[in-house]
Amino acid sequence: MTHAKENGTKVVEAVDAAIDHYGSNRNELIPILNEVNRALGFLPAEALSVISQRLHEPKSSLFGVASFYNMLSTKPRGRHIVQFCESAPCHVVGGREVWEALKEEINLEPDETSADGKWTLSTTSCLGLCGVGPVIIIDTDIYGNVDPKKVREILAEYP
């Protein structure tokens, strides 16, 4: 099997699993997209094509939804997703310094993915963890009370 074909099968499987779970219903579009995004790491154009066929919904409308929400990505993402909480409570307790250190350390600008496919850097809206700001999240791990010095140590935990 060629590489492309293998990928294609993976996409179809992910879409089928999500639609099986939520039902073939236009109202369930966002949960379906969320699930496919989780399974594949992002929403490739092929996935939107398959969903479009299954839900009998134009691809443009699906792309409209997929590109609207921050948590859905139409671009490939890295193995580890580093999210920095850009909200004001984190900002006023030293968040900006952490953000600079983070960009410096992995050498990326927001919404970029490193060439080796290891990191994707992005910002997130408030996580409501303001009591322990500044906060960063790597994949699903939350780090509170971060300062620029800790950034390197935290990143080193990820292979």
Binding site: N34, V65, F68, L72, S87, E105, C126, L129, G131
Partner: protein
């Protein structure tokens, strides 16, 4: 339904059973009969309370006292002391382990906790804990004793206003949604708490999910809905999980589903998860998102109470609003209305953040002054610095300076001060905060979160951000202030929803109260608070510098040079002004100018 003044929950885990939990329950029952208390005290079996090591264990509500190691022989003494004389028996008391809750500490003297009353007190994953705290009693009262109109009347009389920020009368909203004769109606809970710094809804959903479920069920009964949705943002995975557990448990107990509590009232709930869009907190955008579309607001009217989810009459309230309902029903409208001011009744939760000694969640009666919140409840400004301003109401709110410290916190007074109640985020800032930077920060947020439907909001916020960024970078030009004012007016008057209408508020309020700072940035190329990077420089003082090299070793761009034990030097052309050197210097030798 019978009411009891006290509930005794005895653990019947295998370990406690092996230590005689059943004997204990029997003895307790007998003793309550002979003391004449059996009509007042209810003994219940419960699952694991503590470690079960010194079992049998019990918790007595409403006090929430946790006793261990009680044997049947101790029962007469215990009943006499605790239930007749009202004294806690220290001999059996489990000393409370002081846990550090960084979000929600014990209430300060100025607080009144209605919405947060159970948070951190009960096990949110155990419906029985909630029931022991009079949980679902409000629903029982509504279903057995009250007509829908009576429920709405009670909520109206309580004076409760929407806690999502706009402050519309909850009772009136219910009335409007009740009116249409449509067999299909919906109840929606707005749990898309997106305001930076506001996390009270998350805490309620994580700590007391049943209060929200009960409030929604009561609302459904009042307006005539059979289906409800909680729209929760995806950034709150734990809240979603807790809520789903709670819904499952409520269903299993017949508190959701068909024929609730044996009545002919049916209601069920589903959690819908967002996908990261701030604007979905706006009710029409939220509805669009539940329907699986782009979360773009639409013009109102028609309001959701007439035409909401899938075109049906829909009642949309915030988490905190619903969480107030069971208590209002149970204790009466007058009880609730005793708190607050003439027009703003009850309590409001606030999330205190920023430069305060005690940050975290608080719940205070409305009408309390800003000074009381900052200095009494919040413990004053950190490091003994001076209070500069507080940003209230999230990204659509404004910054309120020190001269408003005696402002009573209610919907009307806040509007007069140029801000809004919002969902209750309060970011307190000390003198080292640059207000232009704060305005720029909020504009960065709103221009990012603008859905793009209305041009004034989409393009206007972007232009505001460009100008503010230029000012912070030291490239402000004369006329910038006038352009900012003009843009603010155009954006707020020509946008469809609250996001666009409120987006200029952080800029307008800082322009109004801190105009001097804008002027210093634009005309003197100076940042008075020493925050804006391009307008500051770092310098190492020769005297305190010991030449320890720690700054040079930590500098990410190698801008610091110097021999060991010699004064170091920062090359400002290379320096990125990250401030790490200031943080790591042990001798306070690095100053910012």
């Amino acid at each position: 339904m019978k009411y009891f003044r006290s509930h005794v929950l005895v653990c019947v885990d295998p370990e406690c059973l092996s230590k005689g939990a059943h004997d204990l329950i029997d003895t307790l029952q007998d003793e309550f009969v002979s003391a004449g208390l059996i009509e007042e005290v209810q003994v219940l079996e419960t699952s694991r309370i503590g470690g079960c090591v010194n079992g049998p264990e019990m918790v007595i509500y409403p006090e929430g006292v946790h006793y261990i190691g009680v044997t049947p022989d101790d029962v007469p003494f215990l009943v006499d002391e605790h239930f007749l004389k009202g004294r806690i028996v220290n001999k059996f008391l489990v000393s409370k382990v002081a846990t550090v809750d960084e979000e929600l500490g014990p209430p300060t003297s100025k607080e009144v906790r209605i919405v947060l009353r159970n948070c951190g007190q009960i096990d949110p994953e155990n419906i029985e804990d909630y029931i022991a705290e009079d949980g679902y009693m409000g629903l029982a009262k509504v279903l057995t004793e009250m007509s829908p109109d009576e429920v709405i009347d009670t909520v109206l009389r309580s004076g409760l206003r929407g806690r999502g920020g706009a402050g519309f009368s909850t009772g009136k909203k219910w009335q409007f949604t009740r009116m249409p004769k449509n067999p299909v109606k919906y109840v929606v809970c707005n749990a898309d708490e997106g305001d930076p710094g506001a996390f009270m809804n998350r805490r309620v959903l994580e700590g007391d999910p049943h209060a929200v479920i009960e409030g929604m069920t009561i609302a459904a009964y009042a307006i005539g809905a059979q289906q409800g949705y909680v729209y929760c943002r995806a950034e709150y995975p734990i809240a979603v999980a807790t809520l789903n557990i709670a819904i499952k448990q409520a269903r299993a107990m017949g508190l959701l589903g068909k024929n609730i509590l044996g009545s002919d009232f049916d209601f069920d709930l589903e959690v819908r998860i967002g996908a990261g869009a701030f604007v979905c907190g706006e009710e029409t955008a939220l509805i669009a998102s539940i329907e699986g579309r782009r979360g773009e607001p639409r013009a109102r009217p028609p309001f959701p109470s007439i035409q909401g989810l899938w075109g049906k009459p829909t009642n949309v309230n915030n988490v905190e609003t619903y969480a107030n309902i069971p208590q209002i029903i149970l204790n009466g409208a007058e009880w609730f209305a005793q708190y607050g001011t003439e027009k703003s009744k009850g309590t409001k939760t606030f999330a205190l953040a920023g430069h305060l000694n005690h940050t975290g969640l608080v719940e205070v009666p409305l009408g309390i002054t800003l000074r009381e919140i900052v200095f009494d409840v919040g413990g004053g400004i950190k490091n003994n610095k001076e209070f500069k301003a507080v940003q209230i109401g999230g990204p659509m709110g404004g910054c309120v300076p020190a001269e408003f410290l005696d402002l009573p916190i209610d919907y009307e007074s806040l509007a007069q001060a140029g801000t809004i109640m919002g969902s209750g985020g309060m970011i307190v800032m000390d003198n080292d905060t640059c207000m232009v930077d704060i305005a720029r920060y909020f504009m960065d947020f709103t221009q990012d979160e603008s859905c793009g439907k209305c041009t004034p909001c989409r393009v206007g916020t972007h232009r505001l951000l460009e100008i503010l960024t230029r000012i912070c970078d030291g490239n402000g030009v004369p006329g910038d202030i006038e352009t900012l004012e003009y843009l603010c007016k155009e954006i707020s008057t020509n946008s469809l929803c609250g996001l666009g209408q409120g987006a200029p508020n952080p800029v307008l309020s800082t322009l109004h109260f801190f105009l001097d700072e804008y002027k210093a940035h634009i005309f003197e190329k100076r940042c008075p608070a020493k925050v804006c990077r391009s307008l500051i420089r770092f310098e190492i003082l020769a005297d305190p510098c010991t030449g320890c090299t720690v700054c040079a070793r930590n500098c990410p761009v190698n801008a610091i040079t110097g021999e060991r034990r010699q004064t170091h030097y920062i090359d400002m052309d290379t320096c990125i002004r990250c401030g790490i050197c200031v943080q790591v210097c042990n001798f306070n030798a690095i100053i910012i100018e």
